[in-house]
Symmetry: C2
Subunit: 129 residues, 2 copies
DNA sequence: CGCCAGTTTCGACATATGTCTATGTTGACG
DNA sequence: CGTCAACATAGACATATGTCGAAACTGGCG
């Protein structure tokens, strides 16, 4: 019950770095070798951020929203109170998965595309022989 | 300080279903639409399982080990006590990320390849136009 | 049978986490 | 300037989680 759709200035962002490889390295694929303690620390933060049902829904809501971004009011229907939504969005931001920007009354969140691809590469399977 | 390498019966497993698509569906990519509460519940369990540094190291140790499996004694050097290692392996098993099998004295863990690909697909980016 | 190495389970504990209500903060609009 | 809507922060609280040491379990071996 919100749905402010005033934002006609939404530039359609690419969501993918045009090289497909210019992303944050972080760690090798999980199937390559045992991660170091430090690598595991970094990578586990991202996984943990998506390890809560509410946060995962919020993340997918932002990621799938038109233009690659969404204001809080458009994704708040996840069954918890508004402060809790805010809290989870902050967590996602701290994990580097989302960025936020205030435009007038509303705050827009958008996914950090490089992190998404980085996580995907973590789960890369070794090429089948 | 273990390294029992008695297991000459290790069959070199493929690690990938030969269709590349015969995997558990679970949920659509996070960028496709907002997950339902139920989908988010399921998917977040897997992310949460990898959301601990120790577990992530253990998982990568198993996933990268020769033959796609490893006995506990070969991956226990992660800086925590052995019961804690066992506890984390149990968590990974409960999350469906690992399976275990006892062979004589040792217990071998191996990755569930279908889950890995399923998680990878969750992080799939929309095809760049 | 008895011991021993590998692994799991148990119980306890400190800390982290998710949730809420109440209250701040910020910007738009009369 | 006052009020309202959108979000964020603060504080409190119950529960989940990671860790350990101690003890149980399991199977090989002498």
């Amino acid at each position: 019950m919100c749905q402010h759709r005033r934002m006609s200035t939404a530039k359609v962002l690419p969501l993918i770095e045009s090289g497909g490889q210019g992303v944050a390295p972080c760690c090798p694929p999980l199937t390559e070798r045992t991660l170091t303690a430090e690598e595991a620390m970094t990578a586990s933060r991202m996984f943990r951020a998506l390890g809560d049902p509410v946060r995962l829904r919020l993340f997918s809501a932002v990621a799938s929203h038109e233009g690659g971004e969404a204001c809080v009011c458009d994704i708040s229907d996840v069954g918890v109170s508004q402060p809790t939504v805010s809290h989870h969005l902050k967590k996602l931001k701290e994990a580097g998965l989302l960025t936020s920007e205030r435009r007038g009354t509303w705050v827009y969140y958008r996914v950090e595309p490089s992190v998404l691809t980085a996580m995907g590469q973590l789960l890369t399977l070794p090429a089948a022989a």
